[in-house]
Structures are given as C-alpha cells and as structure tokens.
Amino acid sequence: MNSQSTLKDQAADEAGFLPLADNYPLLSMISTALSWGIILLIMLASAYFMNWVILPVFLIPVFLLLATLSIVFSYFSAKACSYRRGSFDLMYQRGLWWKKKTAVSFSRIQHIDLSHGPLERKFGLATLKFFTAGGAHSDLTIPGLPKADAETIRQHILDFTEAEYQSKHE
C-alpha cells in the first residue's frame, strides 16, 4: 500500500500547492474510525463489566451517525490539505470550513521531527513537524507525506540551513 511520490513534478509545479499522499485520506478515515471504535469499546465494557451505562441504547443511532459523519469529514478534510515547498519557504494549507494557511521560512526552522506511527508505517507515510523559535504555537505539522518525500523535504531544508550557516560563519 505504499504511496507514490508526489514530488516528481516539483520543478514544473514550483508555484503550486501539492496534495498530501493519495492514501492519506484513507489513513485519516481509519484512524478516526479507530478512535471512535475505542470509545465504543470503553462504553460497552463499562456497561458489560461494571453495570455502568454511559450511552443509553436509544442514543446509539445518534452515536453511530456522529461517528460516520466525523469519519467522512476526516476523509474530505485530509483531501483538502496541501503544501508547497518553495525554494526558501514552506507553506501548508488545511481546513474545509475553517481554512488555515501557514508559512514558515527555512531559515527560521530550529529543528525538524520526522515521525511515523504504526498505522503510518503500514501506509508508508510519515509526519513532519517543524519547530521555530516562536513558542509553542509556532510549530508546523504536515502529516500524510510519503515517507521518501518527507525525508527528501527534511534533507532539502537541512542542506539549506547548513549552507546558510556556513556562509554566515566563514
């Protein structure tokens, strides 16, 4: 189920935004479904073992409706994410109703985290997290990148900042 690299057309598409990996919406749906499943399991277990009903039976359809809606929503909101790797900066936009566009310049990035959880590994995806000096609210997280792309982007930025550092300290 490994995802194809979306980076190939980078040169042609320098100015444009690229979508995240093709299979990321699917992954997003699965992880949302899993978290709803865990909530359901907890409620069932509490009703079965502890005789403590959190969710009355008549509310189960409401619960299922909410869960389905949020799973569908997670699919479309994952599809709505896109990013742009310019030659000096990185942009990431997301959101279906509440739209957000974030820009971080390479030379302001303090360090980069690359992580891939168990589900992401199955899908061959990774999450990149960029930290700047602007405090806790100033990180930029891009999930759902093909692992190879995430590594390329990270290396590209590290090379850039390294070159900049060298030019300043010589």
Binding site: D89, R108, T132
Partner: protein, 504 residues
C-alpha cells in the same frame, strides 16, 4: 583573561545570605499554603508562645543550614568558551553554559553585598528555563571580566557573519539615552498594567493573611469596618457608598504598591547605548546592571493604560526571545524603559531599529469585527441567560442581561477602533487596546511563522485573520481583507528571503 577562572571556584562565604534569600523567596512563592498546617499546630497547642518560638527557630535553622550546604556544594569555572557550574546538595546538577547561547548578562548588587564588593552575575540563556545561572556572591571584578568575555566572544562570532561594525567592549558606559526621575517612576507605577496583575497576586495572599489571623481580623472588622458601615447608613445608598469606598481603597492600595514596586526596581534608571549594545542601571536596594545586544531585540512595544494616556506617558518594552512555555512571553525578559513622552519615542525607536521608516501607513480592521464580537460574546450568551430567566419569570434579571449586552456594544466598538495595522517592505506595526493601548513594531525578517485563518463567515466576505508569530510573542490581526492578509504574508516571506542578517 583572568586565569583563576580556569579552575573550580567557590562563591564568597557571604553568598550564604544570597542563598537564604533565594530559599525564602521560594518558600514564600511555592510553599506558602503549607504554612497553614503549622498555624493550626500553633493554635491547637496549649502553649502557643513556646510552640511558635520552636517553629520559628526550627525553620530558620533549616533555611540557614540548607543555605550553607548550597554554598558549600556550589562550584563554577570557565572552560574555553563555556561556563561550568556544579551545584545541588542531594541532587547534583552539572550545568554547561555556552557563551554563544547567552541571551543576557546581568549584574545585580543587592544591598547586603554592597559593603563587600560582591555582586550576583545572572546569565540568561535563550534555551530552556532551567539552563541559566545565578552566580551569587562573586567579586565585582570577576563578574565584569566574565561579562566582557562573553560579550567579546559573541561579537567575534557575529562580526564574521555580518556587517556589524566592531565594538569596543571596554567598560566605558556609552551614550546616555534615557533616564527616569522619581516623577517618571510614579508615572510608570500608575500607567503600567502591573497594577492589575498585582490585584490578582494580592487577592489570594490577602485570603491567606486574613485566614491565618482569624481572631485578629474579626476584631479589626468589628472595630474599624462596622463603624464605617454604620456611619454610611443601612439603606441602599449606604451599601453603594460602602462598595465604592471599598473599591477606592483597593485601587489606591494597588497604585501605592505599583509605585513602590516601580521605585524599588527602577530607582536611578539610566539607559546607555554603545554601538551594538544597551546597558541599563537601576534599582533602589538591589542595583541591577543589565545589558542587551541590540540585534537580540525582536519587537519595540509602546504601551500605556488609560491613566498613562491621561498623563501622556508610554512605557517602552524591548521584546526578546520568550523562553517560557506555552508561547507566553516570559516576564523576566522584559526590558522596560519607564514613562516616556511621545517626543522621546522616535529616538529610542531608531536606537534598536535604525532603518525603520518614519511612518508606516496604518489601516483599521474591517467593521464586521464589531458585529461578530458583539454577537458571539455578548448577544448570544445574553439571549441564553435572559431566556432562562424568562422561563423562571424573573423579568428583572432578564432585563438586566439584555441591558448589559447593549451597554457592551460601545466597548466592542471602542475595541474595534483601537485596532490598527500596517506594514512596509521591512517593518510591521500593530496596535490593539481598549482604554489603553499596545503598539508593537517589528522587523518583518524576524518573523518566525505566519498563518492566515478564515472562518466560514469570513470566507463569504473575503476576510481573514492573520497570526504572526515572533520569537517575542504572537500578534493576531483579526478581520482584515484576505487580499491584505496575503500581501502581508508575501511581504514577510520576501523580507526573510532578502535579509540575510541573523534574526537573533
């Protein structure tokens, strides 16, 4: 180079006093509630005097003993371009502070160190909060040597990188650019928002205070407050005037504390500038000597509350890298110039940001901000509340709720009116406020991250909210046109691209 610094050094034995002070402050800050059980012990015992005496002796011995141990285990030395510090009685700390990570080097002279020529060298780093050093009780000459070395080291590494002219790090004080008279300090005391924070700190302390002297406070109330209340009368008029009297008293107390605090901290304020750094002397009992490299200034903030606007004074803050967590600027990093007049500001602005244009065109934010803020924060909650009261058939309460939301409208309007934003190719400016104001000026290339947000309603009107994260904190500009937001973002990105100067 001072060669003795190359070996492990102890602090002066007088530093025990410093450690006692530090322990006491920590006790008062963190462990005040734990005194309550002790008071219970005192009040529950038969022989109150003896128990109190024993407790005080025990506590003092504990504090003095721990201070002596802290002094005994504290060692420091310099190794090449770093300072090593070993301390800790039970838990050993080994700290390494690299010169080029140092944000500020400050020298404090507490009143009890003054006769012995000792000082406290405070080294603040840009990194995590724990990684900073207080060398309490070292000779003044050693402190100045260390500071010069750190600044010189930073200068040699940074002049290689950019076109900053070389500076002399000799001890000459540079040009005096600002000072504050006692009158200025009083102005600062009443015009800084610190007054209101003080109330927040004071309120729980008062609670503890009165709680611990229950008997005393009862007699106090019986003897002083009740007669005043009786004098004012029992009717509604009397209650209102009692309330007003109380509020006036609290506010007067707050101002008094704020002014005293200002005098304690900034007495004899002198700010002097050399080519690339600033130096500040101030303090009544403890003399503070703080230095700041101009390149490290991230924002130039002028702010004032409504009293400050009446007396036409503004306080200036040079925003620096906030090291505290959760994105809130750390208080300790505030580099303040108290109570300036409008005429004094341009010169100080040029001091930190030499190439700032004289005026940056400023714009108001969109009017829809008024409607949205009023609806979401006041009208909708009030409808819910008054709806509830209507079902309870208490029409008066429902009426008050509606009235309140109407009264708030001019305030929301005022808030909208105070928002101003603008940018040139290299600088941005932002103002917000209600009765007071806060204006932040910042070079665009020091921005860390920019974000444009659009709610569904904003999208229909092609509006957006712009969030600009700086190392000194965040600026949120609500309700500007999407086009302006995009242009602003582009300006920031291109300023970072073209300006190769280090931002820090």
């Amino acid at each position: 180079m001072n060669n003795s610094l190359n070996h492990w050094q102890r602090l002066s034995p007088f530093s025990v006093v410093f450690f006692i002070g530090k322990t006491l402050i920590r006790l008062l800050k963190d462990a005040l509630p734990t005194f309550a059980p002790m008071l219970v012990i005192v009040f529950a015992s038969n022989n109150k005097l003896t128990v109190t005496f024993a407790l005080i002796i025990g506590l003092s011995l504990l504090i003095i003993g721990s201070a002596i141990l802290q002094f005994w285990f504290f060692k420091y030395r310099r190794q090449d371009d770093k300072i090593l510090i070993n301390d800790g009685v039970f838990k050993k700390n080994h700290r390494v502070i690299h010169f080029d990570r140092v944000q500020n080097v400050n020298i404090l002279t507490p009143v009890y160190f003054r006769p012995f020529g000792l000082v406290v060298l405070k080294i603040e780093t840009a990194g995590s909060k724990g990684n900073e050093a207080d060398l309490g009780g070292i000779p003044a000459t050693t402190a100045t040597t260390l500071r010069t070395e750190i600044l010189q080291h930073q200068q040699t590494t940074s002049t290689q990188s950019s076109d900053i002219p070389a500076i002399d790090t000799s001890d000459d004080e540079g040009k005096l650019v600002a000072s504050a008279s006692l009158k200025d300090l009083v102005a600062y005391g009443v015009s800084s928002n610190g007054v209101f924070f003080l109330l927040v700190i004071l309120a729980p302390l008062m609670g503890v205070f009165f709680g611990s002297f229950k008997g005393f406070s009862r007699t106090f109330i019986e003897q002083f407050i009740i007669p005043v209340l009786q004098f004012l009368g029992d009717g509604p008029g009397g209650k209102i005037s009692a309330g007003l009297l109380m509020i006036t008293f609290v506010i007067a107390l707050m101002f008094l504390f704020s002014i005293l605090g200002a005098i304690y901290r900034y007495y004899g304020y002198k700010l002097s500038a050399k080519q690339t750094s600033l130096k500040r002397h101030s303090g009544l009992l403890t003399r503070f000597e703080e230095s700041l490299k101009i390149i490290k200034v991230q924002t130039f903030v002028t702010q004032s509350n409504f009293i400050g606007r009446l007396i036409r004074r503004q306080n200036i803050i040079f925003g620096q890298v906030a090291s505290s967590h959760l994105g809130q600027p750390g208080k300790r990093n505030a580099f303040i110039i108290p109570a300036r007049t409008q005429a004094q500001i341009p010169e100080l602005k040029k001091l930190v940001f030499a190439d700032v244009p004289d005026d940056i065109p400023e714009h108001a934010i969109d009017r829809r901000y008024i409607l949205k803020t009023w609806l979401i924060w006041f009208v909708i909650p009030m409808l819910v509340i008054s709806g509830y009261y209507l079902t309870q058939q208490s029409y008066r309460a429902a009426g008050i709720a509606v009235l309140f939301s109407i009264i708030m409208l001019p305030l929301v309007f005022r808030r909208w009116h105070m928002y101003r934003f603008g940018y040139s190719q290299s600088y941005g400016i932002f103002q917000s406020g209600l009765f007071g104001f806060k204006r932040t000026l910042f070079p665009l290339y020091k921005v860390q991250r920019t974000e444009i947000r659009q709610s569904p309603l904003q999208r229909r009107r092609k509006l957006a909210t712009l969030r600009i994260s700086l190392a000194a904190g965040e600026i949120v500009i609500p309700y500007i046109s999407l086009q302006q937001a995009n242009q602003y973002l582009e300006s920031i990105q291109s300023a970072i691209k073209t300006n190769q100067k280090p931002w820090f």
